[in-house]
């Protein structure tokens, strides 16, 4: 779950060196669109449409609010994404209305037996989706020129332009992919439970995941996401008995504690690219 | 009397031997040059001297003190100043501020004094300013004094960088390709400044440069390196005729 969210952040970071704080809003948007469509066209079609719609939204947003900022300090762009987040969330929140909404997923809370343990189908679906996304992304970066172009554009836009890289298109693609991933994550978050205004907060948990894995590493995002999920679960289960002095609900801040610990040892996360500096 | 003595320094990066057994001495008031092909390890030698790289073995003795393992700012405090191959100025600051930064070690007062800006801090700043103005005078930087360096012509930037090094009141000056990218006129200007620094300040210098005209005309002694290995040390005339140096570095053109 965190892995999927993390991937979205990483894709955008990879091409722009910017952490998009608007990801939570796109995630919420994806989930809400599905809640509107799934009654009419079924869950799968609704999900596909929602992902596409959010990708288009991402494209549009990139065009209007991000493109003019190309070449500006990344933190200015980051704050712009923050403004976007507020803006989009207000609009999407307006569409949620008063009742919690349902994505109408086919899994509900059904379980299947797997190696003798009951596992909820929706977790399998999440796992499947994550694996699929990683695979697709891997192939994309392996077999198209855009992976390299994205990294290049993030390091030095002018130089990338001089190589004939259409930096604008690279940014657009990365936003479309990043926001689409956010939408997928949003839909899966809604699956098995319900959608309300507050689910966006979950997206922030992806931040320690990407830092842990290394901001620009797809593999790192997946590993980081899993590590954080597992750590949180473990701490949630055992901390109360073994280290009660950490206070109740320490589990929810575990990701940050873990991230701090890892970064002290590896300043660029587990798989991040080291910044080259020489004189 | 030697100012600096480098003995058998080795430095490698993940398999690349950047410096492989280099030794040399720089005497009082001497202008010592290091030449060698690209990637020979010249800049790396500078980086070792100024404490940015830590060599795997070897010793560097500067004014009787061992430098290995010291942090760059400590080495700077002992009187080593340098310029960089690619201008490393603080692009957003003015010429004045860049030069004032050169006096960082010589203006001593704490944060509280700075905030109050009374007494010591004020006096120290005024003194620093006076010292910096002298350098501005010396390098003829008057007209750019309050301009942001990032937008200045390249040649001027290089001069400001030289000024910043001089502001440190160094006891040894390292110049990494001071005329690279300059046109002839600016090169001549720089040559003149280097000569002036020698004459007026008697400062020993190490010069790394690919402009052979400049090196041969100015240097007292030259060390040629290739792949981190010293090829030859000697007076310009000897080096110019050394077959190894010609093969590895000069090429048949000169």
């Amino acid at each position: 779950m965190y892995a999927l969210l993390a991937l979205g952040f990483v894709i955008i970071y990879k091409s722009m060196r910017v952490i998009s704080f608007a990801q939570p809003a796109f995630m919420l948007a994806g989930a809400v669109i599905v809640t509107y469509l799934s009654d009419d066209v079924g869950f799968w079609a609704a999900a596909a449409l929602a992902v596409a719609a959010v990708a288009v939204l991402g494209l549009g947003v990139e065009r209007v609010a991000i493109r003019p900022m190309v070449g500006r300090p990344v933190f200015v762009v980051a704050i712009i994404t923050l403004g976007l987040d507020i803006l989009i969330r207000v609009v999407v929140g307006g569409f949620i209305g008063l009742d919690v909404r349902q994505v109408g997923d086919p899994w509900k809370l059904g379980t299947v037996g797997l190696f003798g343990v009951d596992v909820q189908q929706r977790y399998l679906a999440m796992l499947g989706a994550a694996v699929l996304c990683v695979l697709v992304l891997f192939l994309f970066f392996r077999y198209t020129r855009y992976g390299l172009a994205m990294r290049a554009a993030s390091f030095d836009q002018e130089s990338a332009l001089a190589q004939g890289v259409d930096v604008g298109r690279v940014f657009a693609i990365s936003w479309a992919m990043g926001t689409a991933l956010a939408a997928i994550a949003g839909i899966l978050v809604g699956a098995g439970t319900s959608v309300d205004q507050n689910i966006w907060i979950i997206a922030l948990k992806a931040l320690p995941a990407i830092i842990l894995g290394g901001l620009d590493s797809l593999g790192g995002a997946v590993v980081g996401g899993l590590a954080i999920g597992v750590a949180e679960a473990l701490v949630g289960t055992y901390q109360a008995d073994h280290a009660p002095w950490l206070g109740e609900n320490f589990a929810s801040v575990t990701p940050y504690a873990l991230m701090l610990a890892v970064l002290l040892v590896r300043p660029y996360g587990l798989f991040g690219t080291r910044e080259v500096e020489r004189v | 009397m030697t100012v600096l003595s480098v003995r058998d320094v080795h430095l490698a990066f993940a398999g690349v031997k950047a410096i492989d057994g280099v030794s040399f001495d720089v005497g009082v008031g001497e202008l010592f040059a290091i030449i060698g092909p690209n990637g020979a390890g010249k800049t790396s030698i500078f980086n070792v001297l100024s404490g940015i790289y830590r060599p795997q073995s070897g010793t560097v003795t500067f004014l009787g003190e061992d430098l290995i393992g010291l942090k760059p700012h400590r080495i700077a405090a002992r009187g080593m100043a340098r310029t960089f191959q690619n201008v490393e100025l603080f692009a957003g600051l003015t010429v004045l501020d860049n030069l004032m930064l050169g006096r960082h070690q010589h203006t001593r007062y704490g944060p509280l004094a700075a905030m109050a800006w009374l007494g010591r801090a004020r006096r120290a700043e005024l003194a620093a300013r006076a010292a910096v103005e002298e350098i501005i005078d010396f390098l003829e930087l008057e007209q750019w004094r309050k301009q942001v360096v990032g937008l200045l012509p390249y040649g001027v930037q290089k001069r400001v960088e030289l000024g910043r090094a001089l502001a440190m009141e160094p006891k040894l000056l390292l110049l990494d390709e001071p005329v690279a990218g300059m046109n002839l006129e600016e090169t001549e200007d720089t040559a003149r400044y280097i000569l002036d620094i020698r004459q007026e300040l008697g400062l020993p210098m190490i010069l790394v440069e690919h402009d052979m005209g400049l090196v041969m005309d100015l240097a007292d002694r030259i060390l040629a390196v290739d792949f981190g290995v010293p090829l030859a040390t000697g007076a310009p005339e000897e080096i110019r005729r050394d077959p190894e140096v010609i093969r590895a570095y000069l090429g048949e053109a000169s």
């Binding site: 390299l148 290049a152 | 300059m182 002839l184």
Partner: protein, 261 residues
């Protein structure tokens, strides 16, 4: 092949840098562009390759033509696809990427020919082959320059804009780069060469322009420029007698000669 007509360029809406420049680069030739620092050479190249935008610069007058197509105003990626490549001043390689990744990126617009072009570049610059998987940022200055030129060749350009390729190179390498430029030119690439090293540039160029303060002040065949007294004195550092001056004899007063203005 390339024609620049009466070009005016302004930065940030206020700084007028090029004041009506016209220049021609005929096909398969090497044209040298000389000029003091800050004369506007790089700006001219940017105007051709479309990179002015990045620097908040604008063409306010005049036009740039490639063959019979007008290319000013096109986005840089399109211009590259039209066969124009700029090797930027200061190398501007991607420090965090490996050498080979840098080269592959250079072939972004010629994806099909990447394999062949890689071989060609590695043959021209064997050092790069040895360091192919190394991080580009750790290369020495000269190695980086080779990488920058090699990267530009990856897209089979028709017109190569070289901005001070000899900057910071050892004499032997300057010689080598010079030969490589000639070789690239022989293989059919037109070259516009911006250089401080006038001797090197005029040695291989067919034609030369001198830029001062945003204006073309000289426009002659290279051989004629080499013979011009002013050029000899101010760009080649040769005394009146034809022998090189020593830097030890540099005079202590400001010498400055301007042709115009």
């Amino acid at each position: 092949m390339l024609a620049v007509r009466n070009l005016e360029v302004v930065y940030h809406d206020v700084v007028l840098v090029l004041r009506g420049i016209s220049l021609q680069v005929p096909r398969h030739r090497i044209v040298a562009l000389l000029g003091a620092n800050g004369a506007g050479k790089t700006t001219l190249l940017r105007a051709v390759s479309g990179l002015l935008d990045v620097h908040d610069g604008k063409i306010t007058k005049g036009r740039v033509e490639l063959g019979d197509r007008r290319i000013d105003g096109l986005p840089p990626a399109r211009i590259v696809r039209n066969g124009v490549r700029q090797v930027m001043e200061g190398r501007r390689i991607f420090a965090e990427l490996s050498v080979e990744e840098n080269l592959r990126l250079g072939g972004h617009t010629a994806a099909k020919a990447i394999g062949a072009n890689l071989t060609r570049v590695y043959d021209l610059f064997p050092v790069l082959r040895d360091r192919r998987s190394g991080t580009a940022g750790y290369l020495s200055g000269g190695e980086q320059q080779m990488l920058a030129v090699g990267r530009a060749l990856m897209s089979d350009p028709e017109l190569l804009l070289l901005d001070e390729p000899s900057l910071g190179l050892a004499p032997r390498l300057v010689q080598q780069i010079k030969e490589i430029i000639v070789e690239i030119n022989d293989q059919g690439t037109t070259v516009l060469l911006v250089e401080q090293n006038a001797a090197m540039a005029l040695d291989i160029a067919d034609h030369g322009y001198v830029l001062e303060n945003g204006r073309i002040v000289m426009d002659r065949p290279a051989a004629e420029l080499l013979a011009d007294d002013d050029i000899r004195e101010f760009y080649l550092g040769l005394g009146a007698e034809g022998a090189a001056r020593s830097f030890r004899d540099v005079k202590h007063y400001k010498r400055r000669k301007r042709w115009l203005s």
